[in-house]
């Protein structure tokens, strides 16, 4: 065999392996998604959304408390995390632009994005649950907000940096102070991008389980009181899937289905907006 043929064969083998790897990776996506869809569809029924859980071992019941709890916790986390994140990103991209402090905070945020979320759960447990004496919804919301802030901060920074500097100079030339330039020119230019970042960060925290385990914990009853332990879909999935009853397993699949669909839709929406706006 000539050297050329050897090289061609080597190339063919390596490329085949890469292609195989790609298809194996995609296979898992469809396997997991398909499984969640099939099991989830079967388990889905209207009662799931309007009933509270039945006592353990009893058939029927729903997850109204978990749906409402999840919504409340995520909403409060968003209300706390988004303003802080956006303002923080503004500081880095505008007032501290190019300074050392901006770089440091930016790098630290990147690290915080990937820090184990369960550690944040233990941190919040120590400062918001232990002093109060019982688990509560607020602590869960704060834990999620802390996860959210660095995500929103970094995307805001990136999006503000995309707004061209000449636009700001034009506003400065009209005599506008910097804060007005930021609010009326820079924010407007970057609005879509920032919104997308917020959407993606909501998708990110909506699926978090570990930080809620020791903060909002779980509650078998319906409650709107954020000072009480509060049920969430993710913690309910954990509890129900590990539990002994078939009924629980079915409901866990249904909850998994709802949360997966929600997150995928938000993620796709976010990507589409980015593609539509920045291309």
């Amino acid at each position: 065999m000539t050297r050329e043929q050897m090289r061609k064969i080597e190339s063919g083998i390596a490329l085949t392996l890469s292609t195989l790897a790609a298809f194996v990776g995609l296979f898992w996506l469809f396997f997991i998604l398909g499984d969640v869809l099939v099991h989830g569809m079967k388990a889905l029924n209207p009662g799931l959304f309007i009933n509270d859980p039945a006592p353990p071992g009893v058939e029927g019941g729903g997850l109204r408390n978990a749906f409402v709890g999840q919504l409340l916790i995520t909403l409060c986390a968003t209300l706390m995390g988004v303003p802080v994140g956006v303002l923080g990103g503004t500081f880095i991209a505008e007032y501290a632009r190019g300074r050392k402090i901006a770089r440091i905070i930016s790098v630290l945020s990147d690290i915080m994005v990937s820090v184990p979320s369960i550690v944040i759960g233990t941190f919040i447990y120590a400062i918001l649950v232990k002093p109060v004496g019982h688990f509560n919804g607020w602590s869960g919301a704060v834990a999620l907000a802390i996860i959210m802030i660095p995500v929103v901060l970094r995307t805001t920074e990136d999006m503000l940096s995309l707004v061209s500097w000449t636009l700001r100079e034009a506003a400065f030339a009209l005599g506008a102070p910097y804060y007005k330039v930021i609010m009326q020119v820079v924010y407007r230019g970057a609005a879509t991008g920032i919104l997308t970042g917020i959407l993606l960060s909501i998708a990110r925290v909506a699926g978090e389980t570990a930080p809620l385990l020791f903060t909002s914990f779980n509650n078998a009853f319906f409650t709107l009181n954020m000072k009480q332990p509060m049920s969430s879909l993710t913690v309910t999935i954990f509890q129900y899937a590990m539990g002994p009853y078939d009924n629980w397993h079915t409901q866990a699949w249904a909850a998994a289905f709802v949360i997966t669909i929600f997150i995928l839709l938000v993620t796709i929406l976010g990507r589409l907006i980015i593609r539509w706006r920045y291309r």
């Binding site: 392996l17 890469s18 996506l29 007032y95 804060y179 389980t209």
Partner: protein, 312 residues
Amino acid sequence: MIIYRKNFFDLIFSFITAIASLSVVLFIIGIIYVLISESSLAINKFGVIKFLTSTDWDPVRESFGALTNIYGTVITTGLSLMIAIPAAIGIAIFVTEISPNFLKGPIGMAIELLAAIPSIIYGMWGLFTLSPIMGNHIEPFLKKITAGVPLADTLFSGTPMGIDILTASVILSIMIIPFTASISRDSFNLTPAVVKESAYALGATKWEVVKNVVLPYSKLGVFGGIVLSLGRALGETMAVAFVLGNNHRITTSLLDAAATITVTLANEFTEADKDIYLSSLFYLALVLFVLSFITLAIAKLFLLKAERKYSR
């Protein structure tokens, strides 16, 4: 920027934004401070070296050590990276070099979506779907082909149950593949087309271009991405909590249950009834935080270096 100092509202606005961005630094300092003060009881009782090297985890005798947990974390993370890295790089090569153009977008999107699925879904799917498959088919098969082979058969000794280190590592690897793949793809994409074309003009095959041009050019970014995935995998809780069991023992078989730091925290935190027990769990959280913080910082360092190199 001197303009903003002249205006009163600017001063206020810059102050508010500064506080907001400093909150990230505050959280990090707060986490370290709180974890250290909460674990001070355990730090005083067990010390640092003794805690890190002791295999005890006995709530009844109130004797705690982190080694079994660290061992579980290291072995699941290591194993999952061994599975994930080749697959992820394969995907990245496929997307950037092999696939026809009309497939690049959809496959890239699919990978991003796979990365967005929350870890609890992976965990639950692992428990209900993957674990029976592993326990009934794959693990007995692995046992059969390694039977009698020294070393390999200790790796697969014990009863295949599906709730063990191997299953947990497989799920963890499925979880980090999209993440590693998308960073690798981004790094590959930064290779200038001109350099690749020159290699093709010299008569290089596609694989030779990937091996000798693309990979060397993007190795910093790829390496950073791998370390970043390592940091992610270290702290992953829900994907492994379902299928790892909670077994505080150092085992040589991949078919045994084990415990990682995260799984121990998830399972035992709310059950800790004694101060020293809870304090030891906080100590574990501190160890995990320090471990992953250092890993992530190293990853970030590589990625920054890569960025600087490409922007030149």
